[in-house]
Symmetry: none
Subunit: 334 residues, 3 copies
Amino acid sequence: MFVTTARIMRPDDANIVGNVHGGTILKMIEEAGCIIGTRHCNTQPGDRCAAQLARVERTDFLYPMFIGEVAHVSAEITYASKHSVEVQVHVMSENILTGATKMTNRAALWYVPFSLEDVDNVTEVPPIKYASPGQEEEGKKRYEAQKMERLETKERNGELLMPVSAPDRTTKEPYTVGFSQSSLIHLVGPSDCTLHGFVHGGVTMKLMDEVAGIVAARHCKTNIVTASVDAINFHRKIMKGCVVTVSGRATFASNKSMEIEVFVDADPLIEAEKGKYRAVTAFFTYISLDKQGKPLSIPPMKLEGDGEQRRFEDGKMRYLQNKAKRLADKERQQ
Amino acid sequence: MFVTTARIMRPDDANIVGNVHGGTILKMIEEAGCIIGTRHCNTQPGDRCAAQLARVERTDFLYPMFIGEVAHVSAEITYASKHSVEVQVHVMSENILTGATKMTNRAALWYVPFSLEDVDNVTEVPPIKYASPGQEEEGKKRYEAQKMERLETKERNGELLMPVSAPDRTTKEPYTVGFSQSSLIHLVGPSDCTLHGFVHGGVTMKLMDEVAGIVAARHCKTNIVTASVDAINFHRKIMKGCVVTVSGRATFASNKSMEIEVFVDADPLIEAEKGKYRAVTAFFTYISLDKQGKPLSIPPMKLEGDGEQRRFEDGKMRYLQNKAKRLADKERQQ
Amino acid sequence: MFVTTARIMRPDDANIVGNVHGGTILKMIEEAGCIIGTRHCNTQPGDRCAAQLARVERTDFLYPMFIGEVAHVSAEITYASKHSVEVQVHVMSENILTGATKMTNRAALWYVPFSLEDVDNVTEVPPIKYASPGQEEEGKKRYEAQKMERLETKERNGELLMPVSAPDRTTKEPYTVGFSQSSLIHLVGPSDCTLHGFVHGGVTMKLMDEVAGIVAARHCKTNIVTASVDAINFHRKIMKGCVVTVSGRATFASNKSMEIEVFVDADPLIEAEKGKYRAVTAFFTYISLDKQGKPLSIPPMKLEGDGEQRRFEDGKMRYLQNKAKRLADKERQQ
């Protein structure tokens, strides 16, 4: 079970220097995942159902993509539990003038089916065939690991439910968290949604990348590009007719990268009695580039107060863990 | 000199009830104006130049427009001063199934040419032919009146340069100004800009309508539609690569309509030394509709502090003046 | 040499009844063709070049596509002459809930490379490998046939260069050509263009389908869908910064379908001395559907004047020829 999509990158997909936004790529990845996940979950008799994005594993942006290149996105179902599927996605960039191709992203997404006919029906996922018993075993391990992490994040998420205050560049000094902090609101439109009135996970990720990118640019004042996105858990669906508030704040900066925490809150505009709720949180990492595309140093952050200090330490831990993991992966491959 | 554009209204042009956003219409109006203004200013030898929106006169949304209807926008140059042109625009909605047509908007826009070859060149506008000396006379009066008002607003605008704080629905009560206050940020993309790297006035107005609409919906919690826009002056150009912050707050509510003040601030992301600047301010008026499209009462505003009280009184004055003007126009037409 | 793209159909891709616009599909077809054509023409040393759409063969819309379905577009190079390539494209619709798939379109496009480095260089196309000598032979026949037709159309095209006047529903009776005649103008934006500043052929075809659809809806006052497009020749490139005027008029109506002629004129806005030019003309055929998607009769046209009568006769001939060709194809397949 396999799907491939491809599209030429246009000016609207990129920043003014020509680098395609990470959010554009995340949106393409999720569209491919949604197609194959929904297709698979409907390959059995019973209720028609839609695949809803539940989680995206940590993903790295290995190479930049540019306007005029073709992005090839291929998605494959690699594991099926009773109530979820894992979709692995590869993104290749192709320069159709020189013929050069590069793998720019690898991602793993988890989808959960929900019945379109009866909300209370629990939809089961059809099994898939594995190339070997070992492959199924590996998939099961990934499944258990992500399940655990989703539960943990749910709790952390609750704890963070205080509102993120507004950016303030009149009273805040450059390089403080308050200086670069940014929020946007977006009224959910028809093209943001699936046929059944829920916002595509990819649309949400694109908005998150947009805000995080503005925070990074305000801090660095240079051309910044998405380097990686931490695992993202989608706790609750966002419906048509919501206003979405997406807020970002810097949490950590190393010499060559900075981490931005992003919150997505959904606010039903008309049925306001349902109340505002936190739908997603995630960490995005950016690097800063000069005009030749060479990495630049990130200006050190000026921390204010215990909260910022604590978040900085947490971010540093994530940074060191990822670094260690990357090194281990490299060694294993050699 | 005349141009007519037409386009089918699509789902993304409208809210979930199917009413086309006022901002969509303002964007179409400005595009037609920009085409005819640019075309006229290049009908003489000399530097090639682009027409930049300087001002939009107060405009009323006379009838709603819906998805599937065709919007016809026709623009005509009606006055030319030495350095500016007035463009009058009519918008008709056509239901292509029933054949029913309605005039939904009439607008007047002022454009100023600027040289694309040498920034310091002052570009003169070619003269136009008038049907009668009286017509030229009338145009000149409108020209003088708007010139005066632009100067006045420039001063008022400076006075208003304090930042609009963030919406806060945890500490603010419903129906207060703080409760419905909203901001969005938008990273200017290539499609927002003219070929020469400046944001189309229509793009800015669409963002303004989007924020004002969210403020109105947060206050009313119903289907709201744009009823009118006060005269808007575009003091400074917004360049490619800026982040635009658009903020709105309720200023006045009568029984059947509410007024929202909108601020547009531009922030050069990379050349940050240029500093953030206020580019536009305007007042948008909204009405609230029930499911059958009948007008509903607006919940009264809860005012807090002297500033809100003062702005409410100012808004009331604008409201009464417009009402008186509308009555006078009606009588004159009879 | 092969490329596959896929995309979920969204509300903005369709009319209010949910039928995906023919123009959306033509745009996807052309994007796939442009990717594979450009890729192939750069598989040799020498100047980097871009593939420019020169012609689309007549194509039928075999089945409707709907919002929420996935469109799969696959493109393959099937013939290469010295200076052009033929790309054959298949479009499948997939209902990811039921698993049903249908072939909705088959199209053949001709691309011509042009050097991005030196306008005066004539770029040669690398040869392709054919599965059999017969295949090459067949391709050569198609090549010769389209070459002849392109020359012929060029002349017809010149003859038609009188401007299409504006629709006029105040003095024109329903069912006359004047009543349904329509024009739209569009300011070419960055996302309409290739990296090198030329409008994508697919963007132009989408605009053509939009205008033709408005003409058909005005005539029929029902849900109309694109049934086929006659061969389209792209005589001249349209550049960034142009205003495009697209006009359509009814030419012929049978009992079950109507034909609309569409003209595309490009007008350089700033370099106006270059003058307006006719870039493309084509014939689109529409059918009318009731609420259950069943075909309805087309109201007979009221013809006025010799020109309309002559064009009607010409349209009738095309209609009868296509009908005969379809019958012959069917018999050959049995």
